[in-house]
């Protein structure tokens, strides 16, 4: 079973079209293995992206050097998944 230890989901907010284009460039950086949960649309809409642990530092550095704002939407994806699984197991037992 694939686990997501160390993965985070970042919420990225562009302040203008230029930053939006820079975020769009992330989509083409295949080696980061990013999973866009909410894709690049317009400046008013944040972008949510799941970042594997091995890419976290690089992606954050990329965003910070371009002065693109982001927040950590999900700090520990695996912890949330385990909680979800525990809830399902509890229901099944009940």
């Amino acid at each position: 079973k694939e686990t997501f230890e160390g993965h985070q989901v970042l919420r990225i907010t562009a302040k203008d079209e230029a930053q939006l284009a820079l975020i769009k460039d992330l989509e083409d950086m295949i080696h980061f293995e990013l999973d866009f949960w909410r894709g690049v649309t317009d400046v008013a809409s944040p972008v949510d992206v799941r970042v594997p642990f091995h890419s976290l530092q690089s992606v954050k550095v990329y965003l910070e050097t371009k002065a693109i704002e982001y927040a950590t939407m999900i700090e520990d994806l695996q912890a949330l998944l385990e909680k979800e699984q525990e809830e399902m197991d509890a229901v099944a037992r009940a």
Binding site: K1, E2, F4, V9, R11, I30, D35, F36, W37, R38, G39, V40, T41, S45, D48, R50, M73, I74, L77, L80, L81, E84, E87, M88, V91, A92, A94
Partner: protein, 308 residues
């Protein structure tokens, strides 16, 4: 659960529990609900549509959930919708009037292989599970596999992409089965495909910026629908055409259904109040389903009252 009354709608369930739920609902409501198997998935799972009907040869309203398997709140909401339709018939005048004149078709498990895979191997799986010859990457995005602008910008030709369109339109049995059903039925009046998250109600087109012929009506109806939705918990939705509201997306479900003449073709992106993405906590399933139901009713009522 021993019956659909004791089924726990406030939690996520396995695929077999949902299939069992469907069978129970059919057994409990033999004069209203039947199950139609319209095809099977790549791995051989049934594509079971619940048909809510009170008469023969009626026009139909279609709802599907879960085409992107990791969007668990959609299958969970679909289960709640099924029970709601069964219980509201005879007590809710608006739904009763609809069902006295039209059929409702509900496909809860639109991508069953993907859903099973989310529960056994990879919770974040979105696509189908058919292998791609020549690639180690599996699956096709079933919302890029329809014959509407297929292969144009807004989908990927890379099998490793989450938006891989597939080798050709309708290459996925999960898509082809719906296509065959829609064509053979020939009289669907609305088609609503449900996704999550990001809180949007969208209408065609996604593959072209040319406005849909009925854009004004679709826009106005979307506004009514999201207003009804927001009346329950204040959940705010955006609405508009796919290409103008999200981005260019080719080969999408409702672009194809609209081009088939199903005027009221919409796609939902359900709620994410609390920044959970695809991991919406189970305690939000019922509020999500309840508010979405209000919007669904607006669209279904409109389709019923504005025959074409």
């Amino acid at each position: 659960a021993r019956s659909t009354d004791s089924f726990d709608y406030a939690n996520y369930h396995t695929i077999s529990e949902i299939y069992n739920f469907q069978d129970m609902l059919v057994r409990e409501n033999p004069n209203l609900v039947s199950k139609i198997v319209i095809g099977q998935s790549y791995e051989g799972r049934p594509l079971s549509v619940l048909k809510f009907s009170t008469g023969a040869n009626r026009p139909g309203l279609w709802i599907d959930t879960g085409i992107h398997s990791r969007e668990w709140v959609t299958q969970a909401s679909g289960t709640w919708f099924a029970k709601k339709i069964a219980t509201a018939y005879g007590s809710d005048p608006a739904l009763t009037a609809i069902l006295n004149n039209m059929d409702i078709f509900l496909l809860i498990m639109t991508n069953p292989d993907g859903f099973a895979y989310t529960q056994t191997n990879n919770r974040m799986w979105r696509k189908t599970r058919k292998p791609n010859p020549g690639s180690s990457c599996v699956g096709v995005d079933p919302n890029r596999n329809w014959d509407a602008g297929f292969g144009e910008p807004g989908a990927s030709n890379n099998p490793c992409s989450e938006t891989y369109r597939g080798p050709r339109a309708n290459s996925e049995s999960e898509v082809k089965s719906i296509v065959d059903f829609v064509r053979s039925h020939g009289n669907l009046k609305s088609f609503i495909s449900i996704h999550s998250y990001s809180q949007m109600l969208l209408y065609p087109y996604g593959y072209t910026s040319t406005p849909a012929k009925d854009q004004a009506e679709l826009h106005s109806l979307a506004k009514k629908a999201i207003t009804a939705l927001a009346s329950l918990y204040g959940t705010r939705y955006r609405y508009g055409s796919i290409i103008n509201t999200i981005y260019q997306a080719s080969g999408g479900t409702i672009d194809w259904t609209y081009n088939q003449g199903i005027k009221y073709s919409y796609t939902f992106e359900l709620r994410d109040t609390g920044d959970y993405g695809f991991l919406l906590p189970a305690n939000q399933i019922i509020p999500t389903a309840e508010e979405t139901w209000l919007a669904l009713m607006v669209i279904m009522k409109h389709a019923y009252k504005n025959a074409y």
